[in-house]
Symmetry: none
Subunit: 121 residues, 4 copies
């Protein structure tokens, strides 16, 4: 389920959960799996999930209620902002990558429009 990057597992899980929230697979107010269940899910140690949850809470993306459970924040705008940031990062990474291959901005835009047309046809 996790990618092949060298990033720490807990960061990869954070990003995976963020994507699920950004894309609506997890909605504001939804209960997250308990730490132990999520650990089974990702096949990692509960401590690793614990760390992911803590970081997400610190970022205001989820709220943790001791003894109760962890929940996606009710704050819609926080989720939207997070989604936008994920998009920006992907966008900038893409332009950097294409640029390093030797494509200029005009070519990049052209190729994306072509691809978009094909995908929507």
């Amino acid at each position: 389920m996790l990618s092949d990057s060298k990033q720490p597992i807990y960061i990869q899980i954070i990003n995976d959960l963020k994507k699920q929230m950004a894309s609506g697979k997890l909605c504001p107010g939804d209960k997250l799996l308990p730490v132990r269940d999520m650990a089974l899910n990702y096949k990692v140690n509960p401590n690793t999930i614990q760390r992911s949850y803590q970081e997400l809470e610190r970022d205001g993306i989820i709220t943790v209620q001791r003894g109760v459970g962890s929940f996606v924040t009710d704050d819609d705008s926080a989720i939207k902002e997070m989604k936008y940031q994920l998009g920006r990062i992907a966008l900038e990474h893409f332009f950097d990558e294409m640029s390093s291959i030797g494509y200029n901005v005009k070519e990049i835009v052209y190729m994306v429009n072509e691809e978009g047309g094909k995908l929507n046809a």
Copy 2:
């Protein structure tokens, strides 16, 4: 200099060299650094570079002449094809990534055009 992926180092080096050729930092006919120098350059074992060169030669991107050196292929169209393939991979990866964040094709195209406009302004 190398990325943060878990890919074998020789693969990462292949991709780096390919980008240099695609972007014109290395031109058709150019002599590549000798294996030992390239190894120092990337701070890896010469065997690793050896393997990267072998793969690149198998793909027809470079030619290796024993006792003389290694050279970027003279075949312009081979380089162009390779550049196109690198671009396709980046393009598809980008669409996949944006899609997993929850953006649809229309939104992706819009964001790229916006970004392209800003970068060219």
Copy 3:
């Protein structure tokens, strides 16, 4: 209601009751809650309250009359002395704490006067 110290619970309850007597929430001669009710109040075992009452009686702060109830001592001066002792402990703890943070006596006195001025403004 109880603090975050590792002190035994019966000690924490003693100190809480002492504060109530020192601050006049419980006056000389007042009847204390029966052991069982006080236990419900603090959400502890009645035995724990029993022990707290015993200690307070030994200190002459309350009097326990079997079959009748427990009462705050009539001895005003005993309560005053106890209040003074609580104040001394807090005062000394405060000077120690500030000292360990790196403030000298002059600075501590200055800060308290400033704060006092603000609070009384």
Copy 4:
């Protein structure tokens, strides 16, 4: 070396180190003990120190250089601000405590001035 509070050990260690920095036992730029040595010092697991260091770094109080060591920040003003905050917390806690014992602001200020006079005599 650590207090008897119910606070997590890593928090207690953070506060202890903060006090050492506030009071000048540790100065800006000073090297902190390596994680493992500090763990022996406090007789806790290295992971616990790791966590303390990470929190301190996040707060900008120390800087961590992977493979090199951990250092008190060079930013004098950050240390001063932290010292001020520690003082404020102690001050407010003291006023709260005295208030719960039944002393009013005027009395608190009087007692502190008396004590300050005695200590400086």
